[in-house]
Symmetry: C2
Subunit: 325 residues, 2 copies
């Protein structure tokens, strides 16, 4: 059977408390007994019973990462970085894709990181109701809770500039769900920029909703690739839908039409030709998440709101835009 403190105590000829102090590096144990206890613990291959520790200390170093899908590769790119940052600070990250209130309210987790770029206000409220220290990876400065998000405004301006350099001028915009905070922010920025440049032209007539999904974008793009040649997609998945429709129509991306995405998916890097897109430095993002998490943890309940940090956007220039000479 797995050894516990009592077993070690019996072998060392001391009390359980002394073993506990020795293993936790606390004072009040002579160096000699400490070494003896550590040696016995190592020889028995002792590891503490985490549930008992959590129960006794009423604290946990476990943090839950709630993802919208294991296949959403924007978020999976980030998880690994976030996990690395948290582990360095002594936390252990565990990932799930289901919001099971019984689990999250079970005192097992110290807090929650929500990696869901399609997050809407309803779900956000539902998550905050769990009462855990929480950091969101999408959301608005105005909304409740703390969040660390990519700079959609700056990113969309970069995307617009990149598309302005294209030979293609017939602009079409593929948008996500209306309720999605990310989609709304990106679309509003683009509209403002567009109306600034072309005050006379109707922007919204060029906007087609495609739910942030590759399949929906593919479906609507069959006709779009015949009318338009400059596609600004509010995420990379939809850009890949345009790729597919273009391929089947015998059109070459980067030649016959220009496409730009948003999020810097791995799949975009491997698309042919490589997808020009807007990305956010994942390591910077992860480190900021950790910093905000620590702040939220210490903040009095309810004072999490308004914490809002922006990760600067960069243009990842590949080959899906045909530039003017």
């Amino acid at each position: 059977m797995k050894p516990n403190l009592k077993d070690i105590a019996a072998r060392a000829g001391v009390s359980v408390a002394t073993v506990s102090y020795a293993l936790n590096g606390q004072e009040g144990v002579s160096e000699a007994t400490r070494q003896r206890i550590l040696a016995i613990a190592a020889s028995l291959n002792y590891t503490p019973h985490l549930s008992a520790q959590i129960l006794a200390t009423r604290t946990s170093k476990l943090v839950c990462a709630l993802v919208d899908s294991y296949q959403a590769d924007v978020t999976t790119q980030l998880i690994a970085r976030i996990e690395a940052a948290f582990i360095q600070t002594g936390y252990q990250l565990l990932v799930t894709d289901r919001l099971v209130p019984e689990l999250l309210r079970s005192d097992l987790f110290d807090g929650l990181i929500v990696l869901d770029l399609t997050l809407d206000a309803t779900r956000q409220a539902e998550i905050l109701a769990l009462g855990l220290p929480t950091v969101f990876l999408a959301g608005t400065a105005a909304g409740p809770g703390a969040c660390v998000v990519g700079d959609n405004v700056g990113g969309m301006k970069l995307a617009w500039q990149a598309m302005q350099a294209s030979v293609h001028r017939r602009l079409c915009v593929l948008a996500g769900r209306r309720a999605s905070v990310n989609s709304a922010q990106r679309l509003n920025t683009l509209r403002a920029t567009f109306e600034d440049a072309f005050p006379q032209t109707n922007f919204d007539a060029r906007v087609v909703p495609a739910d942030f999904s590759i399949t929906q974008a593919y479906d609507v793009s069959h006709t779009l690739v015949k009318q338009y040649d400059a596609f600004i997609c509010l995420n990379d998945a939809m850009a890949l839908g345009v790729y597919r429709a273009a391929f089947e129509a015998g059109l070459r991306v980067g030649q016959d039409l220009s496409v730009i995405g948003f999020d810097n998916l791995l799949a975009g890097a491997y698309a042919l030709p490589g997808l020009t897109t807007i990305g956010f430095d994942p390591t910077a993002w992860a480190n900021t998440v950790l910093a905000v998490y620590e702040a939220v943890r210490l903040a009095p309940r309810g004072a999490q709101d308004g914490q809002h940090r922006l990760i600067p956007a960069t243009l990842i220039d590949r080959h899906s835009i045909r530039k003017r000479d």
Copy 2:
């Protein structure tokens, strides 16, 4: 503060034990008091303290899914299905990509599912040493531990047949790491089939190692696409590396050359043209994992070995092979 059994007991005017019985649906509580207790629990928004439950019962319904990478999309496709199957049976799956012995030996988890298709014997032994009920998603019938794996032999035969239907005859094989069980099984099957069909020809001269990775496959393929035109890739990632090299050489997959992969990645479905590949029904796979897990859990310690279940392979016929008329 979060309510506990004592709070409920006080409000209901009964003992803590009665509350525990009522909430767990056990006998010995009258229907009237049970309803009263349930109502109070609901109104207080009570959820049990999981650590205390695990400590008291010495059992956990938490299962850890250990993945090799959050980006490995063969495994992420499976996680969601496995999670669904396990949740139906009352388990809760939590995912991590780090083998932290302190965590896994902490009595928090009931058992372990290892989703690592690149698993080798060393790592497998290391994981088994943790002493948890474990199911691997890669491995050999001969090896220790229980595993549920795709039928590499049957799958590779299907791949061979599919490629035999191609107009392209200059065969090249892209292989993974030698230590990988999956790569070895697939390669050995292919070699046997090839030598059966062409006893005079040297098979191994046509095999190029590319580490199961898209970038390595891309690197080696620049020259390969000039010598060969029929590529059997032991996984889809490498097939996509061939795609990229072909694209840059001005060659069209499905026209100028034929490619088949293995694993049925999502990225292959969205590649242009769609990648013909070998897949395994993920729902069947997930259900089998659950069944084997239950068996392993109940088996006496050490008796997990030799459990070995095969998931049948199917050909996913898309458009990367140019067939004879």
